[in-house]
Amino acid sequence: MFNRFTRAARDVVLRAHEEAAALGHGGVNSEHLLLAVAAGGDLPPSLGIDEESLRAAVKAAPGDELDGQALATIGIDLDAVRRSVEESFGPGALTGRKRRRRRAGHVPFSASAKQALERSLREALALRDRNIGPQHILLGLMSETDRGVVQALRSCGTSPGAVRAAALAARREAA
């Protein structure tokens, strides 16, 4: 798949690693990819998303993929679990953040990030584009079921649907 990535798309992936590492998150999640797209200047300007507020939103997220909302449906308070675990094992213990940070430079891709990159390939195919660029990564990230992305966008006052529409509109204009 990666041999179809343009230079700019590879830069997005590298940048996502750097963003995740800089935030001290244990893995590269889809929201780090989104942040990398924004940092590369590849968000549709019409959305008016500020890179720094997006970074703040991603920073505030726990940096793992535990689904507090789904757990709440069966009566489990994830925040309470996190608190009690961190009381004994320190901040970030549940996410493995502390532990993984010591392994120099190695920040693995999460399932959400992998799925988003796979979708970017499908987006390129659907648009009949030969290569995968930052725009396809952006479109691949815009899934309503991706919690990290949905939450980060919500903090910036937008949604995957709106970003997707803006990205496709910008593409039509450029054509």
Partner: protein
């Protein structure tokens, strides 16, 4: 969390999408907790048999799952 709880109440508890998402989330939480506890036990010098007994599984199972993970301060 109250917002999430309200959301949960609003959705039918018989909705498979809700139920399956809860199971998936619980599994992810379980895996995180297991990794944390096994690593802690190893750091404290527990052997695989002791850890397996604690988890109620076979020594082979726990070693296969966690044996390849490198621990802090045990880098060889």
């Amino acid at each position: 969390m109250s917002e999430a709880t309200q959301l949960a109440d609003a959705t039918s508890s018989r909705d498979p999408a809700v139920g399956l998402a809860a199971v998936a989330a619980l599994r992810a939480l379980l895996e995180s907790l297991e990794r944390l506890q096994v690593d802690n036990a190893r750091e404290r010098g527990w052997n695989w048999q002791q850890i397996a007994d604690g988890l109620g599984v076979s020594r082979q199972a726990v070693h296969k799952k966690h044996g390849t993970r490198r621990l802090i301060g045990r880098r060889s």
